[in-house]
């Protein structure tokens, strides 16, 4: 009886402490040096390589100049940068975007179709298997089904002022252009992407999560400029997210007929798709 009286509150306080975690009590993925040194570890390593150098290791499936790590910083480990361990424990899940229950495999296929503007590898392909294995290993010890602190991107409160092109452009020129280029085309070195393109033909397409202004604002607020996350005010993050996502980019692969129909079906809120900006309608994925 005494043991139960001690153990029950102890266990409760342990489980309680995870759900009431302070912002500093984040999940900690295993160190890279702890990657297993066996057949499974090889596949995990392969997943890490695809994640970090997607251009090189998943070339047939990539249609733009991005790598997974461009938006999932520190090889998918970083808090508030859509860390893989945060996502892993929340799948399978019903998603409004696809109107179905997505598995990890189908979720990652979406990354290739939209964020990478490419084509989805088969669910049982070596590439998807490697990526899922890497996610699984990074999530060692993470509790299934829990929305962990630091998962996904920050959710900013609605901005005080409606974001504008001019306000966003000012933020962009001061804080972003030095890396991502005045033309948003990014910068490259030795054939590799250093700073990813943010709009135009080599960036994520209109179907990618990052095209949504609230999503981009949350990513930018916590993570940009690189190494100076938190520098921008919420308003600045909203403004520059609006500016970046109000440029043309490759077509939404889901578009069946015209932009206006796709707008109703897929782009009801939080984005500039189908809107007229600077004299032309966005979403056509041309005239770059």
């Amino acid at each position: 009886m005494k043991k139960v009286l001690i153990l029950v509150p102890l266990v409760l306080s342990m489980t309680g402490s995870l759900s009431n975690a302070k912002p500093d009590a984040y999940f900690s993925p295993p160190a890279e040096t702890a990657m297993p040194d066996d057949e499974f570890g090889k596949v995990v390593k392969s997943g890490e390589q695809i994640f970090s150098e997607t251009q090189k290791f998943a070339k047939p499936y990539v249609g733009n100049s991005l790598n997974c790590v461009n938006c999932h910083l520190n090889a998918g480990r970083l808090v508030n940068s859509a860390p893989l361990w945060g996502a892993y424990v929340l799948y399978p899940a019903y998603r409004k975007k696809t109107k179905q229950v997505d598995t990890l495999q189908s979720r990652i296929q979406g990354c290739f179709k939209y964020s990478m503007n490419g084509k989805a590898p088969d669910a049982s392909s070596p590439e998807i298997t490697a990526l899922v294995s890497y996610m699984y290993w990074l999530s060692t010890g993470a509790p299934t089904g829990k929305a962990l602190p630091g998962h996904g991107y920050l959710e900013l409160k609605k901005p005080e002022r409606e974001p504008t092109w001019e306000a966003g452009k000012a933020v962009y020129e001061k804080n972003c252009a030095l890396c991502h280029g005045a033309d948003g085309a990014g910068q490259f070195s030795e054939g590799k992407t250093v700073f990813p393109p943010l709009w135009g033909k080599n960036s994520y397409n209109w179907g990618a999560g990052m095209h949504k202004i609230n999503t981009a604002a949350g990513f930018i607020k916590a993570n940009m400029p690189l190494g100076r996350g938190g520098l921008l005010s919420d308003q600045e993050a909203w403004d520059v997210a609006y500016f970046i996502n109000s440029h043309e980019r490759p077509k939404d692969p889901r578009q069946k007929t015209d932009v206006d129909s796709s707008k109703k079906e897929f782009h009801e809120e939080n984005c500039s798709y189908g809107k007229e900006v600077n004299g032309s309608q966005l979403g056509h994925g041309d005239s770059f």
């Binding site: 520190n74 090889a75 804080n175 070195s189 030795e190 250093v194 690189l226 190494g227 100076r228 996350g229």
Partner: protein
Amino acid sequence: MMKAILLIYFATSVFAHAESPDFEIAKKIILNGNGKGALACMTCHQLHGAGNAAAGFPQLAGMNAAYFTSMPTVANASIQAPQSNFELGKTIAEKGLWDKGMPSCFSCHGPSGRGVGENFPGITTQGKTYLVQQLQAWKKGTRKNDPNQLMATVAKKLTAKEMDSVTEYLTVMKSEVPK
């Protein structure tokens, strides 16, 4: 006595040529220190005693034995040479120190650290002394032309050991300046 042994090593400057057991002791001290507080000689004087002219560490190879032995012992307290760690340097340059919010050097300076565009110069194209001086200048605030204080932010987070390790790594990875 120990100094004479060390000088025999530097004078011959042949690693594999073991004259006597003392030679092996000398080699050990040069590579690892004496285990009693003396730093490894190579830390400052380089592997074969060539020294480091820019940093002011004299060449020892070929030095007159009696002269060498007559030199006073330098108190280690006055030497600022935190033990550089190659693996740590590699981690900082290639992965970053994200516990401190620090991205990798190469994420801005390019995959081989040769530089990118107008704002991110080559870093594997420079010597260690210069790299350390610049990092310290940003840390102290005597250099402040970095856009958005990107480098000052990095430098302020680096410990002396990390600064030494990453600059050591970058120098070892020294690449040809692209034509």
